[in-house]
Symmetry: C2
Amino acid sequence: MLINTPETVVADALRGMAVAHPELRVDVENRVVVRRDAPVAGKVGIVSGGGSGHEPLHGGFVGPGMLTAACPGAVFTSPVPDQMVRAALAADSGEGVLFIVKNYTGDVLNFDMAAELAEEEGVRLAKVLVDDDVAVTDSLFTAGRRGTGATLFVEKIAGAAAEAGAPLEEVAAVARRVNESSRSFGVALSSVTTPAKGTPNFDLPDGELELGIGIHGEPGRERRPMMTSREIADVALTAVVEDRPPTGPVLVLVNGMGATPLLELYGFAAEVGRGLAERGIEAARTLVGNYVTSLDMAGCSVTLCQVDEESLRLWDAPVQTAALRWGR
Amino acid sequence: MLINTPETVVADALRGMAVAHPELRVDVENRVVVRRDAPVAGKVGIVSGGGSGHEPLHGGFVGPGMLTAACPGAVFTSPVPDQMVRAALAADSGEGVLFIVKNYTGDVLNFDMAAELAEEEGVRLAKVLVDDDVAVTDSLFTAGRRGTGATLFVEKIAGAAAEAGAPLEEVAAVARRVNESSRSFGVALSSVTTPAKGTPNFDLPDGELELGIGIHGEPGRERRPMMTSREIADVALTAVVEDRPPTGPVLVLVNGMGATPLLELYGFAAEVGRGLAERGIEAARTLVGNYVTSLDMAGCSVTLCQVDEESLRLWDAPVQTAALRWGR
């Protein structure tokens, strides 16, 4: 591993973000990343956070058009309420703050507590829970469905609504609609090794894969002998589409789990595109890359998010973050 | 591996690029990626290419402000002259074309042949060789120094010069100056597995690293027991800085080899930043990410490129590609 010590991994990464991104305010000690011009007058603040190890999520999504602030926890561990409150206070211009919370029990409890504390400090708060993963319900760390790839869609589209000046209730409604319109399915081709443990979190023999994996290596639906990219795309799409059959165009995220080469991920994107076409589903936009990762895990996930004209416009709106940027 | 068959890996990836990037023209059969509006009247064309397996290099750098066209070879294998000629013809508006060639023997020979063939077709050609890797001279596949991370700087800065309307000779001179001002050093924390072989290209035991590795897993300077991120940054910086001591501000590329988690890479960027500060070297800009990769290799490289005001202005100029985008 390319680290100093397991204890300093998150602080070291935050120091690196400070070096590479002068457009962010990085509070290494308190573990909060804020866009430099926050709070932005007249704009709802958007705050997210979660365990580290899923980079560029969430810190890489802080900036104009997306998150106002992010707070990273220890690896695969929820941030604490104090971080979330600091992020909320840094993000609040008086228009209120939306917490975007991936559905893991620790995150949910801590963001609930932080919301109470921030409200006591005078911040108007709304929350949206992301729970898009169709693979399993009630997994390790989660009651209900896990939050995975849809987080990117929720953060981008709610971020664009906030940037356009929408009030808190509307931004929260947009975020909820995006989550409800999104479904994901992930596949692991290798295990994942956390710095603290130093050995693979679970055992996945060469030549096997696990369908329906979570982003912390939580168990999925089943193990199988290695499949082709085409077969994997069909399994993932079938799972996603059966759970929520799209009735209109979708945004597509073809996401790498961290260690899958981009060459392979683009090949997988081709099979996802083929699979969608065969099912008569229109891909309005397709994003390919490592966005919601699981440290050094090889594998991929597919997220579909059905969009109306308004959501598509918000998706296309300019964004200027470390990991996602387009428009002016 | 997330593939269909080893034989279709490159074609599958190109099909995926076509799905995800409607702003590109992707000729899957002939393996050429071209920006959709090429040839751009009045603009010098910029063409690069090389073996696949280093994505997003080069196809991910095609677009306004960077490459006009790219041609990917088979994995770790030079593209053939026919691809290069097609790319040159697609890129040429009559103002001529610059070939950016990484210094590997196969690439050099094939681009030389392609230049002759393209000139016979009436394209005015210039070439620049990228050879920034200070680790070794005369490695596998290479006479002289290998071309690695500086390729990104050369393609971006020459691309900006071309976009601004500079004539061919000037664009070529800019590209050569960027290469001469750049030095790189890479470190492998794991081996690399190509789809065709299916097993690691070389043996690197757990708990060891190889200093001075090439982007195809060519041997470096030495093996050592695992080092800290801080120690690795110091070895890499010392190698780069001793070879060409900067006398002014530098661009910094902190590059992942493909399988190193972004969390770790940002931590490494912090150590590179510290090491530069300790050496009194000003980092004008720092870019962190997986840009010049080696399939599933874990590891990293550091590239420094000394810049004057003009080069820095060209670096900051807008770019709109799959992998690198900023500005309007």
